[in-house]
Amino acid sequence: MKLQEIIKQCGFELKTQNENLNRDVTGGYSSDLLSDVMANAKDGNIWTTLQTHSNIVAVAVLKNLAGIILVNNRVPEEGTLAKANEENIPIMTTKLSTFEIVGKLYELGIKGN
């Protein structure tokens, strides 16, 4: 499923100015430990986290992730957004908790890897 479609279906608020919303999302990963994401997320995954600092962008770039979803109404720090725009990593926000949003994504067919 394309990222664009997921954003629409889940009602995410897109915080970055991205051009690469046409990417196919290969699956998802949920974690707030960056090392865990580094070790276990897969190419093209969408990532849910409550971390908002700029290092989430570095992790997403290094793992070639499709995008980052910030849960529980969290907003990205300013530096995070600047970096995400520069690296073309989409960051979205939702008011739902990790548990709820993962359930929703799973229903859409976005599975873990």
């Binding site: 707030d32 430990l33 960056l34 090392s35 865990d36 580094m38 070790a39 190419d43 986290t49 971390q51 600092h53 700029s54 290092n55 989430i56 570095a58 992790v59 770039v61 290094l62 793992k63 070639n64 530096g79 690296e87």
Partner: protein, 311 residues
């Protein structure tokens, strides 16, 4: 096929009419005689011309109009009596895609192109012009891609020496979380340019990031030295302390000495060193408390190696 098609469509949206249209427009006046039209079309080997009066576009006339006029008897009269005045125009700032749609819609052979503000005739567009413009752009991009790929994959092959290696060094500032990860993300791009295989880049990126974060989180700063040869990528990470007391313990998954504020940021979960080990073909760490730590990581570029299979 699909990617090729997508690329063509992309180009049709990217290119503006002003990029491809013919600017050396041959025109004719409304008071000119039809016999002039015949000579003009013959001389320039074209099938239609815009009719312009004092710089203003007033109509368009084509070879079909000429044939119809001839079959009706060919009585000499002015262009303005025959030309079509119901004009369909395009604007120079429109994407080429608009022109393609318009050709489909009207089936005409050509459209005059106007400048949007002044309404002045600035060019003419035909199907041939669209095809040429698109092919030229495709050829250009293909050439760029070829050159880029050539440079990358032949980087080592083209340079002759007994031993070849590329060394790149980065300074890492301690506790600077804003810039943390920069060395690793930059290196990922560099390795891509060097034409290194994606699965190798991925392993280098993970090992490099974890090592970089260790320097940021636990030390006062240090450096990372990347060394790329034909058969391996080595990373040497050096810091100036505090040093690790028990390396064996530090290597255990989940063991950490980090403070709680670091953990809250999602770091310091005791997974960094085990992650590096998983990605590396060789890993060696030497440390002295009060002096510093040196971590050496090697990832082989060979076709088939154990870590790559297990990864």
């Amino acid at each position: 096929m699909e990617t090729k098609f997508d690329k063509t469509v992309e180009i049709l949206f990217e290119l503006k009419l002003s990029d491809v249209m013919r600017r050396d427009i041959i025109t004719i006046g409304p008071k000119d005689k039809m016999s002039v039209l015949q000579r003009t079309l013959q001389k320039h080997r074209i099938s239609g011309v815009p009719v312009v009066n004092d710089g203003t576009l007033v109509g368009i006339i084509s070879i079909e109009d000429l044939i119809k006029w001839l079959s009706d008897g060919g009585r000499d009269c002015s262009i303005e009596d025959i030309m079509s005045k119901n004009l369909q125009c395009l604007y120079a700032d429109q994407p080429l895609m608009h022109a393609v749609k318009k050709f489909d819609q009207f089936g005409f052979g050509r459209f005059p192109v106007l400048e949007r503000e002044s309404g002045k005739l600035v060019g003419i567009i035909t199907r041939g012009v669209i095809i040429n413009g698109t092919l030229n752009r495709l050829a250009m991009e293909y050439q760029d891609e070829e050159i880029r790929q050539y440079r990358a994959s032949h980087f080592f092959g083209d340079i002759t020496a007994d031993q070849k290696n590329v060394s790149l060094k980065f300074k890492i500032a301690g506790k600077d979380f804003d810039n943390a990860g920069k060395a690793s993300t930059t290196m990922k791009k560099n390795l891509k340019r060097l034409g290194i295989r994606p699965d190798i880049i991925q392993r280098v990126a993970i090992a490099s990031y974890e090592a970089e974060m260790n320097v940021v989180i636990y030390t006062g700063g240090g450096s990372m030295l990347y060394n790329i040869t034909e058969d391996k990528i080595s990373i040497k990470v050096t810091d100036n302390g505090p040093g690790i007391d028990d390396i064996e313990k530090a290597m255990q998954p989940g063991f950490t000495t980090s403070e709680s504020w670091v953990k809250e940021l999602g770091f310091g979960a005791g997974m960094g060193l085990p992650n590096i080990k998983k990605c590396a073909d060789k890993m060696d760490m030497q440390s002295k408390v009060g002096v510093g730590t040196t971590l050496k990581i090697e990832i082989f570029i060979g076709e088939d190696d154990e870590a790559a299979r297990n990864y």
